[in-house]
């Protein structure tokens, strides 16, 4: 296990290094951030001063090495527009995004698993057909469209749901969370549901497929022939087997959900990192964009590592794979 983790960690470092190269040079090609700082009366001397101040007068490889050196010390630079460290800005906004993503994950699993299991148990019934049709639609429709329609129907027409912001939040150990207040929960429902739909559709399909496969296996027949209660067979003997592919896919998907909550956050003006990225791109806040991208890569790498570990917990054949040979 230790060897496995070290090997994966080294791979992760390499991925990070390559990503810093891509991100840093990529972002440095677009636009000229100097004009963000320059007022309309700024003359050449003033512009030069700004360029020197930002360190943009040095060769790009020197800039990169400086960036890399700072990165190793946990410094991703200061946001041009906010004037505070980019990383601090990300961490300030992150709880909102994490909350949204977790809420979406809980919804996807909480609704998707039972629906998928039901559809797998009675594949010929009307219920199953309805569930599968729903998963197909949820999978195919663009997220932004669903979000907009939800706002149109529930906020504009019916006026039941708020469409902007997080609502009232509670400070829990330094984290601002909205799901603990009624108002916050009210604000959370629509964005979380929008964000969860694709994941939910995936969980439904994976759970159903898993059920169809495991349900006819000899070990389920044997469990039934041993008189084990159906609830126990479903909840443990079946579930543990179908969870293996679901955990894998969700783990990978979850990184994507956090990283690309951008769309949902923009639609619902959710003050998370996704919204922050869009704003940063609009004003060409280079350090913030770079910091965000590096952060996302880092998160993906960590999540994948976690999935691998969790996967081996669920599936003993992987955990002990090395010992048998």
């Amino acid at each position: 296990m230790a060897e496995f983790i070290i090997r994966r960690a080294l791979q992760a470092l390499l991925v990070l290094l390559v990503m810093t190269l891509l991100v840093f040079f990529g972002v440095n090609v677009i636009g000229n951030p100097v004009y963000i700082f320059a007022s309309s009366e700024c003359d050449q001397a003033c512009l030069t001063a700004i360029i020197e101040d930002l360190g943009l007068d040095r060769p790009i490889w020197q800039q990169y090495l400086t960036f890399l050196g700072n990165l190793l010390q946990g410094d991703l630079g200061k946001s041009f527009t906010h004037g505070i460290p980019a990383l601090a800005l990300i961490f300030e906004r992150l709880p909102a995004t994490l909350e949204l993503a977790f809420a979406a994950l809980v919804l996807a699993l909480g609704a998707g698993l039972p629906l998928g299991i039901y559809a797998g148990l009675r594949p010929e019934g009307w219920g199953a057909k309805l569930i599968m049709a729903f998963s197909m639609v949820a999978f195919s429709l663009p997220v932004f469209w669903i979000g907009l329609i939800m706002i149109l129907v529930f906020s504009v027409q019916l006026g039941w749901m708020p469409s902007v912001g997080r609502g009232e939040t509670v400070d829990l150990g330094g984290l601002e969370l909205s799901f603990l207040t009624l108002d916050g929960l009210h604000h959370l429902v629509m964005p979380a549901l929008t964000l969860s739909l694709i994941m939910m559709a995936m969980v439904i399909r994976l759970a159903r497929a898993g059920m169809r496969e495991v349900l006819f296996s000899d070990y389920i027949k044997f469990a039934r022939a041993s008189g084990i209660r159906e609830s126990r067979i479903l909840g443990v003997h079946l579930l543990k087997n179908i969870l293996i592919p679901i955990v894998t896919v969700l783990g990978m998907e979850f990184g994507g959900v956090i990283a690309f909550a951008v769309v949902v956050e923009s639609i619902f003006s959710w003050p998370g990192v996704g919204k922050m990225l869009i704003d940063a791109i609009a004003v060409l806040d280079r350090p913030l964009i770079v910091a965000y991208l590096i952060f996302v890569v880092f998160m993906f790498v960590i999540l994948n590592l976690l999935v691998d570990i969790l996967y081996s917990v669920l599936d003993p054949r992987i955990r002990f794979g090395g010992q048998e040979r």
Binding site: A223, S226, R229, N241, P316, R317
Partner: protein, 324 residues
């Protein structure tokens, strides 16, 4: 003595868009306490389905359509789902063919034994553990305590089948249905498993239905043999009578197809043709098209008729006991 199991005219069918496919017809036999019945036939003859019909675990679209399954005089076909669950594992247990597949790959052996125990008894932690260890010990698994923590893939095929047998015998059932449990094992292991099951069933007076396509395995194990062909029992009788002196031509063909040591030169007898598909059964004796003794009268279904002491055969022109 009242029989443990009494199967009366069991009919099972599969329901498809094209109508019912008759998979089992008029399957009747009874089994006394501690008796071992070998249920023999080719693939598709309905021998496994007979087992699943008794425990009512046939997968859709299959369904038992008629007859009675009397366990100590109680018809299992009339029980509700919960009452039936209480029968499975406690009174009637099953062992399956492939030991690689019968244990859940993601649950520890101990967990699987515990679940099977708690399905029928209320036990504390320590009791569960003691019972599980005793069960594994009894089927000859070395260091059973350590095995409780093991996962199925860490055990060999023979060991897994022993675990399955231990689970099947946990509640000292009256009847065990063993569906080709040695077919997937090495020959040496086969012998061990056979001896083990035989000993355990004898010790407790457990009746056993041993389903197999291998006549030679059944010959050494069973008290009686029932031969199935195309969903019906064609002959049933005590093992020695039936093997020495088969009444039904199909039984004779089966026996002749088993290679005997010391007869290397002789050409192995074969039964020409193959079993008709269940969708395409002749109205009369299903074996008639392949039977050397068939005559015009065989186009009507023959009934099970006595063919000697304690024997029955479904044949109008049996080889022994009867008219011919």
């Amino acid at each position: 003595m009242a029989p443990v199991l009494d199967l009366k005219a069991l009919n099972t069918g599969f329901f498809t868009a094209a109508g019912e496919i008759p998979a089992l017809r008029d399957v009747s036999f009874s089994l006394g306490r501690g008796e071992i019945l070998g249920l023999v036939g080719e693939s598709g003859s309905g021998k496994s389905l007979t087992g699943f019909s008794i425990t009512r675990l046939i997968a859709a679209p299959g369904r038992v359509t008629g007859g009675e399954v009397l366990l100590h005089g109680q018809d299992l076909l009339r029980l509700g789902p919960e009452a039936m669950r209480r029968v499975r594992g406690a009174k009637v247990a099953m062992i399956f063919q492939d030991p690689m597949m019968t244990l859940n790959p993601v649950l520890r052996i101990g967990t699987q034994i515990r679940d099977a125990l708690l399905a029928h008894e209320r036990l504390g932690r320590a009791e569960v553990r003691a019972r599980a260890i005793a069960a594994l010990d009894q089927v000859g698994i070395p260091s059973p305590e350590a095995r409780l923590k093991a996962y199925p893939h860490q055990l060999s095929g023979g060991m897994r089948q022993r675990v399955a047998i231990a689970i099947a015998l946990l509640h000292a059932p009256d009847l065990v249905i063993a569906d080709e449990p040695t077919t997937a094992l090495d020959v040496t292991i086969q012998g061990q498993i056979l001896a083990l099951v035989q000993r355990l069933c004898r010790e407790r007076g457990t009746a056993l239905i041993w389903i197999s396509h291998d006549l030679s395995v059944v010959a050494g194990l069973a008290d009686r043999i029932a031969v199935m062909y195309a969903g019906r029992i064609v002959e049933i009788g005590a093992v020695d009578d039936l093997l020495d002196d088969p009444a039904h031509p199909y039984t004779q063909g089966l026996i002749a197809s088993v290679p005997t040591p010391g007869r290397r030169q002789a050409r192995l007898a074969q039964i020409p043709g193959r079993m008709p598909a269940l969708t395409d059964l002749p109205p009369g004796c299903a074996f008639a098209p392949r039977c050397p003794r068939a005559q015009a009268a065989c186009e009507a279904m023959p009934a099970m008729t006595p063919a000697g002491e304690g024997r029955m055969a479904r044949c109008l022109y049996p080889l022994t006991g009867g008219a011919a």
